[in-house]
C-alpha cells in the first residue's frame, strides 16, 4: 500500500513540492483517487489552522457555529443525545486527552476550542463505510453522500474524534431557517462538516472562516509552501488531535 502510494507520489507532478518539504509533502500530497469520485485538484491539500487563544479573546462568540449551521441547514436539536453538529466548542482538555498535564496554562485550562471534522489524510470513517457514502477527495476533503448513506453508523464508531452526527429523527422541523441553495437531510443518515466544498467550488471562503471576527481560523492549501497555513505552521507550534492514531488530521491547533 505505502509502496504504491510512493510510486504514485513520485510520478505525480508534486515532485518538486516533495523535494521542498519532505515531511509535510509526504503527508499532504494528493493520494490515489478514492472510489466514488470527487473533483481532483492537483497540488491542493486543504487545511485549517486554528488559534484557540484568538478565539478565546472573542469571549463567548459562536459566530462560526451559527453561520456554518445556518448555511448548511444543520438542525438545532436541544437534547444532547440527538444533537447534530458540524463545528462546535469542546473543553481543551477533552479535545486533547493525550496532552493532559496536571498544571495546564491558565489561558487554556477548561477553555473551549473549536472542533470539527478533521478531514484526515487516512480517515477511518472512509475505510469502514460499506457503501462509499463517505469518501476522501484528492484535495483532502472527506465528503458525504447523504443519498447513499444507509445509516449503519459504522463511521461514527470508527471516527476517533466524535466528529460525526446522526439524524436520529427528521431534522427538518428543527431548522430555524432553511437555506434554499443547500440540501436538507432526511432522518437516518450521518452528516458532518464537508469543509464548505460547495463554497470552495464557487471560489468563496469557508463560512466559519469568513464569520470569525478574531481571525482565529485560517484556511489554506498545505501543498502550497507560500500559503498562509504553511507560513503559520512554520512560525508557530501546532498540534493535531490524537496524532498517535495515524489518521493525519488536516486541522491544526496553535498552542
Amino acid at each position: 500500500m505505502s509502496i504504491s502510494r510512493r510510486g504514485f507520489l513520485g510520478a505525480a507532478a508534486g515532485l518538486s513540492a516533495l523535494a521542498l518539504a519532505g515531511r509535510s509533502a509526504l503527508e499532504t500530497q494528493p493520494r490515489e483517487p478514492e472510489p466514488g469520485g470527487g473533483t481532483p485538484a492537483a497540488g491542493t491539500r486543504w487545511a485549517l489552522v486554528i488559534d484557540p487563544r484568538k478565539c478565546l479573546e472573542a469571549g463567548d462568540c459562536t459566530k462560526c457555529v451559527d453561520v456554518c449551521h445556518t448555511v448548511h441547514n444543520v438542525p438545532a436539536i436541544a437534547e444532547p443525545a440527538h444533537s447534530v453538529k458540524w463545528i462546535w466548542k469542546e473543553p481543551f482538555e477533552r479535545t486533547f486527552p493525550s496532552l493532559q498535564t496536571d498544571y495546564p496554562p491558565d489561558d487554556l485550562r477548561d477553555k473551549p476550542v473549536m472542533v470539527l471534522c478533521n478531514h484526515c489524510d487516512n480517515p477511518p470513517c472512509v475505510r469502514v463505510c460499506p457503501t462509499q457514502a463517505t469518501w476522501r477527495r484528492d484535495d483532502g476533503i472527506v465528503m458525504m453522500d447523504w443519498h447513499r448513506c444507509i445509516g449503519c453508523r459504522y463511521c461514527m464508531a470508527a471516527c476517533p474524534y466524535g466528529s460525526r452526527s446522526f439524524n436520529w429523527k427528521d431534522p427538518r422541523p428543527s431548522l430555524v431557517q432553511t437555506t434554499p441553495d443547500f440540501p436538507t437531510r432526511s432522518k437516518g443518515v450521518v452528516e458532518k462538516c464537508t469543509l464548505c466544498e460547495e463554497r470552495l467550488a464557487k471560489g468563496q471562503p469557508l463560512a466559519c472562516v469568513a464569520a470569525c471576527p478574531a481571525k482565529a481560523l485560517v484556511f489554506g492549501n498545505l501543498a502550497d509552501p507560500a500559503s498562509e497555513v504553511r507560513s503559520l505552521l512554520r512560525s508557530r507550534f501546532t498540534i493535531r488531535r490524537k496524532p498517535e492514531l495515524g489518521t493525519r488530521p488536516a486541522i491544526y491547533y496553535i498552542v
Binding site: H82, P130, I150, G151, C152, R153, A157, W168, L245, G246
Partner: protein, 386 residues
C-alpha cells in the same frame, strides 16, 4: 417437508401463536421506529450502537457454534452426534436470520440496504460480514435440507454434499472472526482494539451455542418422543467446559493487560462496566452477575460428576448462556462507546420500543427453531414408522 409444520397439537399451536403475538407487537414497534427514526431508541450521539448490534454479535456466536457438532461428526466420524448434527445446523440457520434482522432494524435507512451490494466495498469489514453471514446461511440451508431430504428417502446423502459440509466448518469460524473484525480495527476504540477479540468471540460462541443445544435436547426429551441420548449431551457438556474455560481465561488476559498497564483509555471501559465511571454505573450489576455466573458455572462444569447429572447440567447451561449473553449481548458493545472520544460518560438504556423489537426477533428465532425441529422430528417419525 414444510407441510409437517402445520400439523400439531394444542400445546404446539399455543406456543406458535404466543410467538406470533410477540412478533406482531415487535412489528408495530418497528413501524413506529421506521416512522419516527432511531430517536425512539436509547441510542445517542455517543453510544451509537446498543442492544440491536449487541444481540447481533451474540447470535453470530450461536450460529457459529453449529460447527461444534458438525466438526466431530463429519471430520472425526463421531457417530453419537449423528442425530443432533442437523439440529445444530437448523439452530445456525435461525441464529443467522436473527443476526441479519438485528442489523436491518439498526439501519437508519433500511430502504437503502441494497446499497451494500450495489457499491461493494472490500475495505469495509461490513462488506465481508455480509458475505460471510450470507454464505453461512446458504451453506447451512443447503446442508440441512439435503441431509434431511436424504434421511426422509432413507438413502445416503449425495456425495457432493460432503465438500459443502467441509467448507461450512472454516466458514463458521470466519463468521465470528469477521464479526470481531468489525469492532477490532477501529482506532480510538481501545476497548475493542485487542487482538484477542476474535478468539474471545469464538470461545464464548462455542460455550453459549452448545449450552443452548444441550437445553434444546433436554427440552425435546421432555416434550417430544425424541431423545438425543445421554452420550451426545455429555460430549456437548465437555465442549462447553473447554470453551468456557478458554473464554474466562481470555477475559482474564484482557483484564490483566488493561489493569496492569494502567493506560487510562484501556482501563476506563472496564471501570465503566465493573465499577462505574463519572457517577454512572448502569451496567455494573449486570457485569458482576455475568462474571459470577461465568466463574460459578465453570467450577460446576469442571466437576465431572456434577456435569454428568442432567438436571445440574441444565442449570449450568442456563448460567453459561446468561453469563455470555450479558457479556457479549450487553457489555461488549455499550462498553466500547463509554467513555466517548471526548471522555463523556453517556447513559444508554434501551427503550421499550427497542426491547420489543429485540423480543420480536427472538420470537422469530424461536419460531424458526420450533418449525425446523418439528419438521425434523416428523420426518424421523415417518421413517421409523415405515
Amino acid at each position: 417437508m414444510f407441510e409437517k409444520a402445520v400439523t400439531g397439537g394444542r400445546r404446539y399451536w399455543a406456543w406458535v401463536s404466543g410467538l406470533l403475538v410477540v412478533m406482531g407487537l415487535a412489528l408495530l414497534a418497528y413501524l413506529r421506529q421506521l416512522d419516527v427514526g432511531l430517536a425512539v431508541t436509547g441510542l445517542s450521539r455517543d453510544v451509537t450502537w446498543g442492544l440491536y448490534i449487541a444481540q447481533f454479535t451474540f447470535f453470530v456466536g450461536v450460529a457459529a457454534s453449529a460447527v461444534m457438532v458438525v466438526l466431530p461428526y463429519y471430520l472425526h466420524d463421531y457417530k453419537a452426534f449423528g442425530r443432533i448434527t442437523i439440529l445444530g445446523e437448523f439452530l445456525a440457520i435461525s441464529a443467522v436470520t436473527m443476526c441479519m434482522l438485528f442489523i436491518f432494524v439498526d439501519m437508519g435507512q433500511p430502504r437503502r440496504v441494497l446499497n451494500v451490494m450495489l457499491y461493494p466495498t472490500p475495505h469495509s469489514m461490513m462488506f465481508w460480514d455480509m458475505l460471510s453471514l450470507g454464505g453461512y446461511l446458504a451453506l447451512n440451508a443447503v446442508i440441512a435440507l439435503v441431509t434431511l431430504g436424504a434421511e426422509r428417502k432413507r438413502v445416503a446423502p449425495p456425495r457432493w454434499i460432503k465438500p459443502v459440509i467441509i467448507v461450512s466448518i472454516p466458514w463458521a469460524v470466519s463468521i465470528h472472526t469477521v464479526t470481531a473484525f468489525l469492532y477490532n480495527g477501529l482506532p480510538g476504540r481501545s476497548f475493542w482494539l485487542t487482538a484477542i477479540l476474535a478468539p474471545r468471540f469464538l470461545a464464548s460462541a462455542f460455550a453459549a451455542g452448545p449450552a443452548l443445544l444441550i437445553l434444546l435436547c433436554l427440552i425435546m426429551r421432555k416434550l417430544t418422543w425424541f431423545d438425543a441420548g445421554r452420550e451426545p449431551v455429555r460430549k456437548l457438556a465437555v465442549i462447553v467446559t473447554y470453551a468456557m474455560l478458554l473464554n474466562v481465561f481470555f477475559i482474564a488476559l484482557e483484564l490483566f493487560t488493561a489493569l496492569y498497564s494502567q493506560i487510562p483509555e484501556h482501563v476506563e471501559h472496564f471501570e465503566y462496566l465493573f465499577l462505574g465511571l463519572g457517577g454512572q454505573a448502569p451496567l455494573v450489576p449486570w457485569m458482576w452477575t455475568s462474571s459470577v455466573l461465568a466463574v460459578a458455572s465453570l467450577i460446576l462444569l469442571l466437576v465431572p460428576s456434577l456435569r454428568r447429572r442432567e438436571p445440574v447440567l441444565a442449570v449450568i447451561c442456563v448460567m453459561v448462556f446468561s453469563s455470555l449473553w450479558i457479556d457479549k449481548g450487553l457489555g461488549l458493545i455499550v462498553g466500547g462507546f463509554v467513555p466517548s472520544p471526548f471522555g463523556a460518560v453517556t447513559r444508554y438504556a434501551p427503550t421499550l420500543t427497542e426491547v420489543l423489537i429485540v423480543l420480536g426477533i427472538w420470537a422469530l428465532g424461536c419460531l424458526m427453531v420450533t418449525v425446523f425441529y418439528k419438521i425434523t422430528l416428523a420426518v424421523r417419525e415417518e421413517v421409523a414408522a415405515s
